[in-house]
Subunit: 145 residues, 2 copies
DNA sequence: ATAATATTCACCACTTTTCCCCACTAAATG
DNA sequence: CATTTAGTGGGGAAAAGTGGTGAATATTAT
């Protein structure tokens, strides 16, 4: 296990579409990153290294499978490579802001090998909808040793 | 069994979100620790070693599976690695304070391989609600060898 | 093609938060 | 009673985050 992204952060998207990616996540991600449409109405942010290994995996998928083809299309069409500005911010293009319904307050979470960017509203709903079931699952994990 | 955490302690959360973790628990936990959302509205505190063994269990999960994705997201977004300051305190991020409804007085308990942090109110309620039932359970435990 | 307008991006200034340190009090130890 | 250890609180330097300005680039209109 080489990459470990964790934590929940609440930052602001400014009028120019910029957000600070928390420094603790930046340290892990490195300078060059890839932002793309994610699942569950969020945006996914990968280090280039992780992104490249993902690409390799996609390469092995059978393109005759319609689902695979669509999934890869989904992920790649929205993807852009970015760098941080001097203050540790990235600029989120309008089409991705709209995709994730981002408003001023956004939630940035670490999730193993990627960072996810959520609108505050969607994140709260996600937690509300899934909390009970997920705590049950984690209950098993925590207790079985 | 290598880790054995025990005891109940009542400490204060100060205005900066800091709590002292009792020194007896610190000795067992080691320097580097992981704090995360726990069960029953409490927070769980693990040594990195213990945390890593937990992580190994779901590192292999595929992110295309919705359940896996949600679960990893839930667990890791709540987690943060911490170190103690010179006085043996940790800083609890706002979102975790809110999660556990922490107010000034918090209850810190050792529970086998983890430390749990409770709000005083929730802890008292938990004890009140469960005491009778628990005495029955433990009765069985003590007798069966 | 040139001027006018808009967009992008690097940089600067400010505010807020975090973190490290010190000082004090309370409790435990000998 | 003196000395050490644990816990509490706060000040201040440094880092992180926020918002804006203006130059450079691109876009559009004339």
């Amino acid at each position: 296990m080489n990459i470990m992204l964790m934590g929940e952060y609440h930052n602001n998207l400014d009028l120019k579409g910029r957000v600070v990616i928390p420094s603790k996540l930046r340290e892990v991600l490195g300078d060059k990153i890839v932002l793309t449409r994610g699942l569950d109405n969020s945006l996914f942010l990968y280090s280039v290294a992780t992104w490249n290994t993902l690409l390799k995996k996609f390469d092995t998928l059978a393109f005759t499978e319609k689902d695979n083809r669509n999934f890869v299309r989904f992920l790649l069409s929205g993807a852009i490579t970015l760098e941080f500005d001097k203050q540790g911010r990235i600029i989120i293009p309008t089409y991705l802001q709209e995709f994730a319904s981002l408003e001023k307050e956004v939630v940035i979470i670490g999730s193993l090998n990627r960072v996810e960017i959520w609108s505050n509203k969607n994140w709260n709903e996600f937690m509300k909808d899934n909390f009970n079931r997920l705590s049950e699952i984690s209950c098993n994990l925590f207790n079985s040793n």
